[in-house]
Amino acid sequence: MGLKILTEHINVPGIETLEVYRKHGGYKSVEKAVKTMTPEEVVEEVKTSGLRGRGGAGFPTGMKWSFLAKPEGVPRYLVCNADESEPGTFKDRWFMERNPHALIEGMITSSYALGANTSYIYIRGELMFILRILEKAIAEAYAAGLLGKNILGSGYDLDLHVAPGGGAYICGEETALLESLEGKRGNPRNKPPFPAVKGLFASPTVVNNVETIASVPWIVNNTGAEYAKVGIGRSTGTKLISASGNINNPGVFEIELGVPVEEFIYSDEYCGGIWKGKQLKAVVPGGSSVPILPANLILKTTAGEGRLMSYESLSDGGFVSGSMMGSGAFIVFDEDQCIVRNTWNYSRFYHHESCGQCSPCREGTGWMEKVLHRIEYGHGHQQDIDLLVSVAKQIEGNTICPLGDAAAWPVAAAIRHFRDEFEWHIKYPKEATAPGAVYRGQLDSVTA
C-alpha cells in the first residue's frame, strides 16, 4: 500500500462530523497556517510541493496561485470547482460525500494563502445530496469558529458558500463556471483576461479542483518538500483515480503517482485485472476527453518502457502514441467492446454538452456525432473516416474553450489507433450491426 494523503481516514465511521474529523488530526493545517505562517509562506510551500491541478490540465497549483493579481481594495476569490462531470470521473463526488471536512479545511487554508475573504464551492446540480452534506459540515465549522469572522482568533475572516450549478458539463470549464456562479448563462469567456486577473465579479480569482484543494492541508502540515518526495519526477504526490469499465474491482483508488499502468490494471490492490479474465483491448486513461490508447501502447511506450501512472509517462509520445493524465478517470475496455460505438457515445455526449457559443464546436460536434452514428448503424461510407479526421482537426484549437479539443481528441485518437475497426464497420455493415458483434482483428497484436 502506498502513502495515503487524501484517503487515510476516509473509512473512519463518522468522519463526516467535525468531532471525529478533528480527533483524526483535522483542521491542524488551519491552526498552523493562520497562526504561524504568512500567506506567502503557504503559497511557497505549495510551490515547493510541485502539486499539480487535479482537474485535468495538470497546471502547477503554486504557479497558478502566484499569478493571482493583488490590486489594492479589490476582493480576491477562491472558487472550488466541484462540477465534476467528465464521463468516467467520480473521484470528487466520492471524496466530498465521505469526507466533507477535508475539503473545507483545504478551502480555509488555501483561501488564507490567497487572501480571499469569500470563497465558493461550485458543485454540480446533480449532487444536491452532497451539497447538503457540505452545508452541514460548513455549519459545524462556523459553530467551531473555523469559519466566519476572526478565525481561531487570528483576525482572518472567511465566508464559505456552496453554490449548485445546473448540471452542465461546460460549467466545469473555469470561466463558464464563473459566469454561472455570477448567475449568468454558463458560456466560457474569451481569454485573456484570465481569471487570475479578472475572474468572479471582475475580481482576481483562482479556480481549483476539489482534489487539489484537499491536498493543501497535508502540504501545510508536513511541508511541501515532504510532498515533493512522493511520486515521480514532476508528478508529485498522490492522485485519486476513478477506475471503471471492464475490471474486477472498479472504484476510486488513491495512488502514488508513478505506479506502473500494468500493475494498476492487474494488481488486486487496484483494478484487480480484467473482468472474467478477458483480454485488455484499450484504455482511456484520463476521462472521456483524452485520447484512447490500445492495449500495447497503454502498457508500454513506443520506446519499450513500461508506462507509469504519471503526467509525463502517460503523455509520452504526444498524441501519436500517448495520451494524458486528465482528471484521472481510468476507463478500461475488454476485447468485447466496440470502439466505434464507444466513440459515437462520447461524441454524442460532447454534442449534447457543447454550449453553442462558438461555431466550430457548436456545428462540428453535431456533425461528428451524426457521421459516427451513421457508421455505427451501418450506413457509413469509406470517405467518412477521413471526413471525421478532417472535422476533428477543424475544431481542434479553433474554439474559445477546451471543450472543442475535448470533443475532437477522442474521435481523432480512436481513428488513429482503431482505423481498421472503423473500416470493418463500413465494409461489413450487416456483420457489424448484428447484436454483440465486435471486430477482433487487432486483438492478435495485444499482449496482456
Binding site: 454534442h351 457543447s354 462558438c358 461555431s359 457548436r362 456545428e363 477543424q394 484549437g397 474559445i400
Partner: protein, 332 residues
C-alpha cells in the same frame, strides 16, 4: 502607442486596440472578416471565429508566438506584435473550415431570403468558403417566430453571433430576448414568444449579419439590388434621424440605419423612423449613399469567378496557390 506588423504592413495604433481594429486602420484586403464582432456593441466578438489570425511574435518584450490562432477581434495589440492573416496558410485553412462549419446548418435559401445581396455570410462564403459541401445530414430547422408587429425571427438561418442579444441589452435598454438551449439546439428567443416591444428594438434587424431577423414591412417587397440607397434625415425626438432610404422610384421600400463598409451601423435609429416613415415627404434627402461592400449593388463585388482561393488581389504568392494542407475537395 503600439507598433505592430500586420501581414508585413507596419501600423501604429493606440494601446488597447484590438488586432482587428488595427487591421481596419490599414484597410483594404488584409482586414480579417468578422461575423459576430460589432464595434458599437460592448462585449461582442470572439464567438464566430472567422477572424482568427496567427500571432507569430507576441511582442518585443516577449517574442514567443502564440500557440493557437487567436480571435483578432478581442485580442489586444502589444508593441512589436507580428500578425499574419492572408499570408498564413493555417489561417486561411482555418477560416475555410469555420465557413464550412457556419454553413452546415444554414439552409442556403438565399433565393428566397430577404438578406440576399447584403448578407455577411454570403460575402464570407464567396470570399473564404468552398464551393463543394461535405455535410449530408439533416440540417436543424425551426419555425418562424413573430417578434411583435415589425420583426420576424427565422432561427433556421441564424449563426448565433449574439449581436442582437447585445443590442437588445445595450441599445434597447431592457433585455427582451436572449439565447435559449445550448449546442446546436441553441436558439435566439424571447421565452414563450414574448413580443419585442421597445422603441429601439428594430436595430436588431440591422445588426443581424444573416437573414434571421427581418423587417416585416420590407419582407418580399423587392430584391435589395433593385433598390437605390439614399442618405436622408429628419427631425426625430428619439434618435438622430440619420438613415438610409432604400427606394424604388419614388417609393420608400425600407429604412435602415447608415452602415459603414464593415456593415456596422453609424448611429442606431428608432422604430418610428424605421417602420412608420415610408413617404418621401417625411425625409430630407441628402444624396445617394455609397455602399462600399456587403451588397451586390456595390458593383463588381462578385465579378471574379468563384474559385477556392480568397479574392484578395496583391496577395503574396504563397496564399494564392493551392493550399497544400487542405483536404482534397478544397483543391479540385
Amino acid at each position: 502607442m503600439a507598433k505592430i506588423t500586420f501581414d508585413g504592413i507596419e501600423v501604429e495604433v493606440e494601446d488597447g486596440t484590438t488586432i482587428l481594429q488595427a487591421a481596419r486602420k490599414i484597410g483594404g484586403n488584409v482586414v480579417p472578416p468578422a461575423m459576430c464582432f460589432y464595434t458599437p456593441l460592448k462585449g461582442s466578438g470572439g464567438k464566430c471565429r472567422v477572424c482568427l489570425v496567427k500571432v507569430t511574435q507576441g511582442s518585443t518584450k516577449d517574442p514567443r508566438p502564440m500557440p493557437k490562432l487567436v480571435a483578432s477581434c478581442i485580442t489586444q495589440v502589444q508593441d512589436g506584435m507580428v500578425v499574419e492573416n492572408t499570408t498564413n496558410e493555417d489561417v486561411l485553412n482555418a477560416r475555410k473550415s469555420i465557413v464550412e462549419m457556419l454553413l452546415i446548418n444554414h439552409p442556403l435559401d438565399c433565393p428566397i431570403c430577404d438578406q440576399a445581396g447584403e448578407c455577411s455570410l454570403q460575402d464570407l462564403s464567396y470570399e473564404h468558403g468552398v464551393s463543394s459541401q461535405r455535410y449530408e445530414e439533416e440540417r436543424r430547422t425551426f419555425n418562424r417566430v413573430d417578434l411583435g408587429p415589425y420583426i420576424q425571427l427565422h432561427m433556421t438561418r441564424c449563426i448565433l453571433c449574439y449581436r442582437c442579444v447585445y443590442t437588445a441589452d445595450q441599445v434597447a435598454e431592457k433585455r427582451v430576448h436572449g439565447v435559449l438551449g445550448r449546442g446546436d439546439a441553441a436558439e435566439i428567443g424571447t421565452y414563450i414568444e414574448n413580443m419585442v416591444d421597445h422603441e429601439m428594438s428594430g436595430n436588431v434587424i440591422d445588426v443581424c449579419p444573416v437573414g434571421a431577423l427581418t423587417d416585416k414591412t420590407w419582407r418580399f417587397k423587392n430584391r435589395v439590388w433593385f433598390t437605390k440607397p439614399l442618405d436622408a434625415h429628419r427631425d426625430c425626438p428619439t434618435c438622430s434621424g440619420k438613415v438610409t432610404l432604400w427606394n424604388r422610384g419614388d417609393q420608400v421600400l425600407r429604412v435602415t440605419a447608415r452602415k459603414d463598409k464593415y456593415n456596422e451601423v453609424e448611429e442606431f435609429i428608432c422604430n418610428t423612423c424605421r417602420f412608420d416613415k415610408k413617404e418621401m415627404s417625411d425625409w430630407t434627402i441628402e444624396g445617394p449613399r455609397h455602399i462600399d461592400r456587403g451588397s451586390v449593388i456595390s458593383a463588381n463585388h462578385y465579378e471574379l469567378p468563384v474559385v477556392n482561393v480568397p479574392i484578395v488581389p496583391n496577395l503574396p504568392r504563397s496564399a494564392k496557390k493551392d493550399l497544400p494542407n487542405a483536404p482534397e475537395q478544397w483543391n479540385p
